[in-house]
Amino acid sequence: MQSLDFLPLYDQGILVLAALVLFTSFALLGQTRMFGLITVFAWQGGLLAATTALVAYSTGQRHLYVSAALTLGLKALFIPWMLKRFVIRLGIRHEVEVLGRHALVLIAGAALVVFSYYVALPIVRLSTLVTRNAIAVSLAIVLLSMLLMITRRQALSQVVGFMAIENGLFFAAVVSTFGMPMVVELGIAFDVLVAAVLFGVFFFQLRDTIDSLDVDRLSRLTENVD
């Protein structure tokens, strides 16, 4: 049964944007360059803002416009800009991360999408919203971002993964309940902002201590004999 054929064009647009957000999650998994990673992350933020704005327009939920504007400003413009500045100042602009078992990670990603589809199935049955099918997509974005954090060793890629998890949670809130209360949303937005600033401090500390951003080296015991 083709339910998509009977939806208005705006709702079809929301689903298309949801699919594109899922695509950016896969693009994050496949991207090995720091600048490319941050650019894809910025695109994810931009698409997320567009989805939120379209949901706001299609359902008449005014407060979602504010969320969309916040998402666009913070996740598509400000945080990527700040991360890129970190990359330049840390001098890892041309660094390419070596990924072992690249194809395997992508296949694992596909498996995670199937898994989140099955997990979300009972929720989808209960919901009556037009965007209910995108709940599985939002769960998949969270899981894919976790996979990104697990498979990477660079601290900066892990931070991008962490931010992408937040993107997935925000997306889940938008498509399943048309957004959280304004106070909560504002709180989370500024939490993310503060986190981004703190991570910057953490990067420089990490580099000063172990002379690299490779977090695997943190688990090695060393003794400073001065």
């Binding site: 049964m1 083709q2 339910s3 998509l4 054929d5 064009l9 079809q12 647009g13 689903l15 298309v16 949801a18 699919a19 594109l20 899922l22 695509f23 896969f26 496949g30 194809a103 992508l106 596909a110 999408v113 199937v114 589809y117 989808v124 099918n133 995108a134 599985a136 997509v137």
Partner: protein, 314 residues
């Protein structure tokens, strides 16, 4: 009876206009690269020249080498007869579907690779092995595109699929965005265009298609080249049929067929422009990066299938 006659005419038109598409793309590319462009009918001249020349066959080759061009060209003609160009519901499109189309391509490729190995030269073997590597990676992606389309339209038959798209009106499907991209990537790989193979080079260590046809001359070479141009056009028309079929002749009448022909010509001209631009801005990939490229196409096809299941049904 009239249906079969029309199907024959459509297939003839298909094959006859394939070199024109190749010439059009070449002209656009030359324009974009600031070179003096050959006229659009240059491929016809080349084919006529090759047909006029004698055939030189290496002593070491068997009958297979002489048979292969005819099989390759025959498979291309049969494949062209399956794809609706200006009108749907002709008898030829009723007897075969997209999976048969993929099989025709596989048949042609099999004979091409055998013939390349037959002469026993280093280039032939190298080209054949590369072609088979790429084909084995491109075919799953292609079939995934076909399957995703089939579960949406409930058919693998192209005429019925066109009906489904035309009958449903304009629907924005997330899965179609992904499989359209995947189909474009597979088409580029299968027809040997940049970034997978460069159709304009000879005697380089990177060539794939040209390495396989290096031993051919005269009318054999003309048939293979013509089959290759037809293959490019089949992929173009397949894309048009699946994703933008508006304008195709639904019921056979002179006016409808004329509109169908004009529509498909305009759409193919536009696709040619897209291909020419993408070939101009992209560089050829290293051979060992090609599996990554095709893996990405497969991933897109898979995402198309997933987004169909998750977002479009239920």
């Amino acid at each position: 009876m009239i249906g079969w006659l029309l199907a024959l005419l459509q297939t003839l038109l298909f094959i006859a206009s394939a070199p024109l598409l190749a010439g059009w793309i070449k002209r656009l590319k030359c324009g974009l690269e600031n070179r003096a462009a050959p006229p659009v009918w240059q491929p016809y001249r080349d084919l006529a020249r090759l047909f006029g020349k004698n055939v030189v066959v290496a002593d070491t080759t068997s009958w297979l080498f002489r048979l292969a061009p005819y099989v390759i060209f025959g498979a291309a003609v049969l494949a062209a007869s399956v794809v609706p160009l200006v009108a749907t519901h002709l008898p030829t499109s009723a007897i075969a579907d997209v999976i048969v189309l993929v099989a025709f391509f596989a048949l042609a490729r099999f004979f091409q690779a055998l013939a390349a190995l037959d002469a026993g030269t280093a280039f032939g073997g190298m080209g054949a092995s590369r072609e088979m590597t790429i084909a084995s990676l491109a075919e799953p992606a292609m079939l995934l595109v076909v399957f995703t389309f089939a579960v949406t339209a409930n058919t693998t038959n192209l005429s019925t699929a066109v009906d489904h798209t035309l009958g449903g009106g304009f629907v924005l499907r997330p899965s179609f965005i992904f499989i359209a991209l995947a189909l474009l990537m597979v088409a580029v790989a299968e027809t040997g265009r940049i970034p997978v193979d460069n159709p304009a080079t000879h005697l380089e260590l990177t060539m794939i298609h040209e390495a396989m046809v290096l031993e051919y001359s005269g009318r054999h070479l003309a048939l293979i080249e013509w089959a290759n141009q037809t293959k490019l056009m089949i992929y173009g028309v397949l894309f048009v049929d699946l994703f933008i079929p508006w304008g195709i002749a639904y019921e056979i009448s002179a006016a409808n067929v004329a509109i169908g022909a004009a529509a498909v010509a305009a759409k193919l001209a536009f696709l040619g422009l897209v291909l020419a631009i993408s070939e101009t801005v992209m560089a050829k990939l290293r051979l060992f990066r090609v599996p990554g490229y095709l893996g990405f196409a497969f991933m897109l096809g898979f995402l198309g299938m997933l987004s169909h299941v998750i977002l479009e049904v239920g």
